[in-house]
């Protein structure tokens, strides 16, 4: 469903050029929950931003359900973002001036869809993530976990092919983080959502089907979650221990 081939990206700082992504290739199947992990500066967020078309890339190919993103114009990219991608950001990116309910509706509002099915869908998602009680509240009036669950609901509003989540638990405490991850699992289970998540948090990653570990702009390792989550978590922690030369801190 999502296919990334030989993706390269670089940026310039003065006269020096830095290679942030070096020949990245991987695939994600429908309904898969994939995490990308790696030390700081390994290129995980850049990878996500390239897939989101938020930033340009130098070479390679990103194919989303048969559509090559590089070939699209601005209008088509906007259409893809609205219809085929769902976004969850670390700092929620909710619009402070809109209520929780209105924030969730935004993707459909952009697409100018009729209000009745839109409201129905929004209510359903709010119930699903247990935030229907706060539907009329503004982002400033709710907790971090509730804000992120609102963002997840918003990401699912247009039934996207894939949800792209950039450090969704980065600003949350462990309880709220767990609630957000459970929201993703719920979405995967009930809506067959595909999720691609960049995270630092090994515990969050341990809920995923697969973890792509990145280092220095390359894929260092791919790990498949088979069976026990605790075992998988231990494996992830060990990987990070190796990556950081014995220091587990970077993997939280």
């Amino acid at each position: 469903m999502l296919s990334v081939r030989n993706l390269c990206q670089s940026y310039k700082n003065g006269s020096e050029e830095y290679q942030t992504l070096k020949n990245i290739s991987f695939d994600i199947k429908k309904g898969e929950f994939v995490a990308v992990m790696g030390p700081s500066g390994s290129g995980k967020s850049t990878l996500l931003n390239c897939i989101s078309s938020f930033i340009p890339y130098d070479s390679g190919e990103i194919d989303l359900d048969g559509t090559k993103l590089a070939e699209l114009g601005e209008k088509e990219i906007a259409e893809i973002r609205n219809q085929k991608l769902g976004f969850v950001f670390q700092d929620f990116m909710l619009l402070d001036g809109l209520t929780v309910f209105e924030n969730v509706c935004v993707p459909k509002v952009i697409h100018e869809e009729p209000y009745q099915p839109m409201e129905e869908k929004a209510r359903k998602l709010l119930q699903m993530f247990d935030i229907d009680r706060i539907a009329e509240k503004y982002p400033a009036e709710i907790s971090g976990g509730q804000r992120q669950r609102t963002a997840v609901a918003r990401a699912l509003m247009n039934d996207p092919l894939i949800i792209l989540a950039d450090e969704p638990t980065g600003n949350l405490d462990s309880r709220s983080s767990e609630a957000v991850i459970k929201a993703f699992i719920e979405a995967k289970k009930r809506l067959e959502a595909t999720i691609f998540m960049v995270t630092h948090d090994s515990i969050s990653a341990s809920y995923c089907d697969r973890v792509i570990v990145m280092k220095d702009g390359q894929i260092h390792k791919e790990m498949i979650h088979k069976g026990n989550r605790k075992v998988f978590l231990d494996q992830l922690l060990n990987i990070f221990k190796d990556l950081n030369g014995g220091d587990e801190n970077d993997a939280d």
Partner: protein
Amino acid sequence: MTLTNLLKKLRKVNHKQYKQFWLCIAFANLLVSSFFGILFSDYIQSALPEGGDSRKQIYLIFGIAVVGCFVFVLYAMGLFLRYKSKELGVFLALGTEKKHMSNALLKEVFSLGLSATVAGILIGNVFSMMIGKVMENLGIAPDGITFMISLTGVLYALAFSACVFLCILMMTLSFLRRSNVMDIINEQRRCEPIKKQVTEQYLISGIFLLMVGVFMAYVLPVLWANIFKQYLSSLFMLFYGLCMIGIYRILVYSIVVHRRGKDPQKYYRNIISYGMLKFQGISMVRNMGLIVLLLIGSLFASFYLPTNMMEGQNQADKNPVDVSYRVPGTVKGMEEEKVYSLAEEFEVNIQGYREIPFIELLSSGVNRDDVDDNGKIIEQYEKQAYYRQFVSDQELNKAMGTNIEIEEGTYQMIRSSEMDETIFFAFDDLDLAKNDATGVEKELRYAGTTVFNELIVENGWDTFSRFVISEKDYNELKKGISEEHVIRQVLFNVNDLDKSYDFSKKLYEEYCNAASEDMKVLLFYDAYLEKQALLTGDEYYEGEHIKLEPEHPEVDLNWKYEPYFKIIFQKNMLLQYAVQFLLFAFVAIVMLASVGIIGYTRSQTIGLNNKQVYDDIRKLGANDNYVLRCVKEQLKKVYAFPTLIGVCIIYLYQCVTYLQNDGVFRSYEVKAAVLDLVICLAVVLYQYIGYRISLKEVKCIVGLRYADRKEAVKIIIAKCEV
């Protein structure tokens, strides 16, 4: 629910940002158009002295004020875009077409900008009309001109508005042209760190450049002219550029350098706030520099009032007589008896009434108006320069009770206690006097000066110079002189100065009514120069006749025979310079308003940019007090440091100016310096109030305080529910 509805709702919810942006543009246009409206009106133009320093200074300082207004609009625009960036980024990320959002934003900026500009210009012109009418009612312009805004003023204001409007549109377009969504989203957290290595030498070089700049651009040209009688090129003004570089360096040092030093505790206490400041270093320093410049300009304009008031007060204090006027021999109607009877009518007792008969003689002089190619002053001796007034030692002694004896063939120049020779004037410039009617002339030799403050007319130089000669020379030169060249100098005091206002006003009226047509000439009028101009076919502008205003002694007529009434002078001192005072005060207000808005918008930017960092340090265990301290440290950099630098620089500059005038600090200059200091303290207070307001706002932004009590209660309840 449509996108248009959502955008409308967001506009409504975020009305504060819209209002702030709108007000900034409207305010800038209001200030600039109202000032242009006043400055370029016929009313003010006729009231301002032709040429002269006041006019140039007003234009120069207002130029800086306009730049200040322009910049604060750009800052307000930047801040508005920063607020909009998140909204725009979210909509783009969620699939809104960029074109759609761009159009919406451009439309918003266009309508806000246009409405604010129109409102600003309209209110500005109404405002200038109101000020103009107030001035008109005070009657401080000559010839009863009515105040009306001029087309020139409106055109200048429109040009400014057009520039501002174009710039904000261009800023919006450049913001929208950002290539990717992440740039737009990250606009709120944009970093502008200063990358250069800043050492102590950097600070020392800054201070050095500042001092060199002041010396080369200000002190040296004056010293040079005084010592070598030669003007240095006006290009020396360019050395003020060094001052700007110096100030910039000092400011950069204050932002970038934070050392452990002797107080490590303090170093660690402020480590976070300093660290954050470094990341907005470039724009921060630019802001601080502009604040320094505007404060310097506003204080320079504000100092005009105390300087002139103290100078005027000093003039009144030094003059021992309460009334003094000159009457040419041809004029009838101002005889002693008439003055006494008028005084009686007003129950005023006249004391020490004296009349001193001066004669006007054509005299030699040294013209120092021109300079050669090297800027050196050319001293051109003129055998017949202009008319000057002479009195005999006997007549003077009789009137003044002195005992001056002047040797035949010599003269003493009459001067005030504060008159000193300058590069333009010397006491011994005269060596010949001639009775124009009889052709009798006498060579005269300089024999010193004699001090009579009450006999000084205008500045006491050039055509206003007066001399004492021997009785014999006086009588020989006076013989056959026409009546118009015999000038009766009248001096007297009154028993109670404070009660002499009505009498003085009436006497002024009588004096004006009695004045002959020949008397109604401009201050620098000289009959000989007029005759010469007529002979050569040149224009002689000083010969223009003026219309006297007998009922308005407060109007500055620039009149050669302006009488002196101490009580009128004291009461109307403010009014006499009212136009200049008002214009300078207005410029100072424009500049201070710009400073206030720049400080406020910069503080908000600090709050917005560092919000995330404050949240992070809270996660690291910082309590609200710690965060508040960080915020305060940062805002202090916006307010305290530029205020300190700006105030110190301009105050020292002003003190040097007082000192440089004549090399000593005179008592009235000390008084003016004290008043200047009070103004400086008022500006410091203004900045402190600005700091408190900004602090309140930033506290809301970083979550240290809720914007209002209602909101706070709502949020606390919500948190309890969570």
